[in-house]
C-alpha cells in the first residue's frame, strides 16, 4: 500500500499500478480517486433531483388556469350615463365606477390605493370615502385626504363596433405615471 504522503506529493511510486503499466481499474476496481469522482456524480445527481423536486413543488402552487371573474365587460351605451354623475352600477359586479363629465367617460377602479379596501361614493359631499382608514378621493380619482398615497387607478375604456362601452380591467392607467393622458384611459364622446 502506498502511504498517504506519496499520493499527495505525487512522487512516482515504482509499485504503483500506473508504473506497472496497469490502469487502476484493473487492480482495485474502485480506488480513492475514482471513488471521489463517482461521489461527485452522486452529489450532483442528488442536488439536481432535490432542486427539481422543490422547483416542481413551487411551480405546483402557481395555477395555469384561474377561475376568476371576467376582466372585460360591456357597460352599455354612452347615453346611459348622465353628465356630471358617478355611476355605481358596476361597483359590486366588476369593481368599477363609470363617470361621465363634459368631455367624456372614464372607468375608475374601486380599489383604494392605500390598502385595497373599497371606498363609497358620497354624492352629497361629492367624494369617494374609504371606510377602512378614511382616504378621500375626488370624482376624478385624485386623492385629497387620508392616508392614500396616490390617485385611484383608471381602466382601459373603448367603444365597441356597435357603439357600446367596453371596459378592460387588465389594462390600468395611473395618474402619477402620467398615464391618464393615454387615449384609451379616457373615452371622448
Amino acid at each position: 500500500m502506498p502511504d498517504g504522503k506519496s499520493t499527495v506529493t505525487k512522487s512516482p511510486d515504482p509499485k504503483s499500478p500506473a508504473a506497472l503499466g496497469k490502469t487502476t481499474k484493473d487492480v482495485e476496481g474502485l480506488n480513492r480517486r475514482s471513488f471521489f469522482s463517482w461521489l461527485s456524480f452522486g452529489w450532483v445527481g442528488f442536488v439536481a433531483a432535490t432542486g427539481g423536486f422543490f422547483t416542481m413543488l413551487l411551480r405546483f402552487l402557481f395555477p395555469n388556469v384561474l377561475f376568476e371573474p371576467v376582466q372585460t365587460f360591456r357597460a352599455g351605451f354612452p347615453d346611459d350615463y348622465i353628465i356630471g354623475e358617478v355611476s355605481t352600477k358596476w361597483k359590486d359586479k366588476y369593481g368599477v365606477w363609470i363617470i361621465r363629465n363634459d368631455l367624456g367617460i372614464y372607468a375608475l377602479s374601486t380599489v383604494c390605493t392605500h390598502l385595497g379596501c373599497t371606498p363609497n361614493w358620497l354624492s352629497s359631499s361629492k367624494k369617494f370615502k374609504c371606510p377602512c382608514h378614511g382616504s378621500g378621493f375626488k370624482a376624478t380619482g385624485i386623492n385629497f385626504e387620508g392616508p392614500a398615497p396616490r390617485p385611484l387607478e383608471r381602466y382601459r375604456i373603448v367603444l365597441a363596433d356597435n357603439g357600446e362601452i367596453i371596459v378592460d380591467k387588465t389594462q390600468k392607467y395611473q395618474q402619477e405615471k402620467g398615464q391618464w393622458s393615454d387615449p384609451e384611459a379616457f373615452l371622448m364622446v
Binding site: L61, F62, P63, L66, F67, E68, P69, L115, G116, C117, C132
Partner: protein
C-alpha cells in the same frame, strides 16, 4: 405465596407482559435511576426534563406561560378538528357554516372556544416570551431555543392570520385583502415591491400580479375562492404540521439546555 398476595394491583399490572411491552423497561420505578429511565424510555415524556428542581417550577417565576400555551394549543387542535366536521371552505358555504356551528350544531360554544383560545394563545405566547426575556432565559446555552421560540411565535401569528379568513365575513375579507396587498409590496417577490421591476427582460416582467408573492398566497389575482381554500389548508394542515415539529424541538431543547428557568 403470602408475599405475592401482598402485591398491589398496580404492582401486579406492572409485572405483566402487556405493561412491559408498552412501557419499555417495565415494572414500577422504585429508585431515582428507575424513575429517570421511565421518563427517558417514553417517546412523549422524553421531550420533558427527567428531573425538575422544586424552585424551577415556581409559578411566580415561570408564570406557567409556556405550559399554558401548549395546553391551549391542544384545546385548539381538538376543537379545530371538531369544527372541520361541519365547516366547508367555499364562498357559498363558509359564512353560513359558521352561523350553523354557532346556532344549530350541538355545543355552539365549540367555535367560540376555538376563537377565544386562539386569542388566548397569542397572549400567552407573548407573555411567555416576555417572561423568558425578563428572566434572561434566552442567554447561552439557551440562545438557539430562543430562536426556535421566535419561529413558534411567527407560526402562532400565521395560524391566527389564516384562521381569521375562514368565517368569510366582511372583517375577514378585508383583513386578508389588506394582508395580501402587503405581500404585494415584498421586495423583489411582490409585483409592487422595491426591486421587482429589476427582474425583467426588456418589456417582459417576471414578477407581475399573476406571478408574485401575493399570487402564490391567495392562489389568484383577486381575493376569492382560491384564497379561502389555500388559507384553509394552511390553517388546518400546513402550519399545524410545521408548528408541531418546532414545538417538539423546543421542548426537547428546554430539557437539553438545562431545564426550565434554572441558572446554567
Amino acid at each position: 405465596m403470602s408475599e405475592k398476595n401482598n402485591k398491589s394491583f398496580l404492582e401486579k399490572a406492572a409485572d405483566s407482559q402487556v405493561w412491559k411491552s408498552i412501557f419499555r423497561g417495565g415494572g414500577v420505578p422504585r429508585n431515582r435511576r428507575q424513575r429517570m429511565m421511565s421518563v427517558l424510555n417514553s417517546v412523549f415524556l422524553h421531550l420533558h426534563p427527567v428531573r425538575l428542581p422544586k424552585h424551577a417550577v415556581k409559578l411566580k417565576f415561570t408564570w406557567c406561560m409556556g405550559g399554558l400555551s401548549f395546553f391551549i394549543f391542544l384545546i385548539l387542535t381538538i376543537s379545530g378538528i371538531l369544527l372541520m366536521f361541519y365547516y366547508r371552505p367555499t364562498i357559498e358555504y363558509a359564512y353560513t357554516d359558521i352561523i350553523d356551528l354557532a346556532e344549530q350544531v350541538p355545543f355552539g360554544i365549540m367555535r367560540e372556544l376555538h376563537r377565544w383560545g386562539a386569542h388566548a394563545m397569542v397572549i400567552t405566547v407573548w407573555l411567555h416570551m416576555f417572561r423568558v426575556f425578563m428572566t434572561g432565559s434566552y442567554k447561552p446555552p439557551r440562545e438557539f431555543n430562543w430562536a426556535v421560540g421566535v419561529v413558534l411565535l411567527l407560526l402562532t401569528l400565521l395560524l391566527s392570520f389564516t384562521g381569521y379568513l375562514l368565517p368569510w365575513d366582511q372583517l375577514a375579507i378585508w383583513a386578508i385583502t389588506v394582508g395580501g396587498n402587503m405581500a404585494r409590496a415584498t421586495p423583489f417577490l411582490g409585483s409592487e415591491g422595491p426591486g421587482a421591476a429589476l427582474l425583467a427582460i426588456g418589456d417582459i416582467n417576471f414578477v407581475t400580479m399573476g406571478s408574485d408573492a401575493r399570487f402564490i398566497l391567495i392562489g389568484g389575482r383577486f381575493m376569492g375562492e382560491a384564497a379561502l381554500l389555500r388559507f384553509y389548508v394552511l390553517h388546518c394542515i400546513g402550519l399545524p404540521f410545521i408548528i408541531m415539529i418546532f414545538m417538539a424541538v423546543h421542548f426537547w431543547r428546554v430539557r437539553k439546555d438545562g431545564g426550565i428557568s434554572t441558572p446554567v
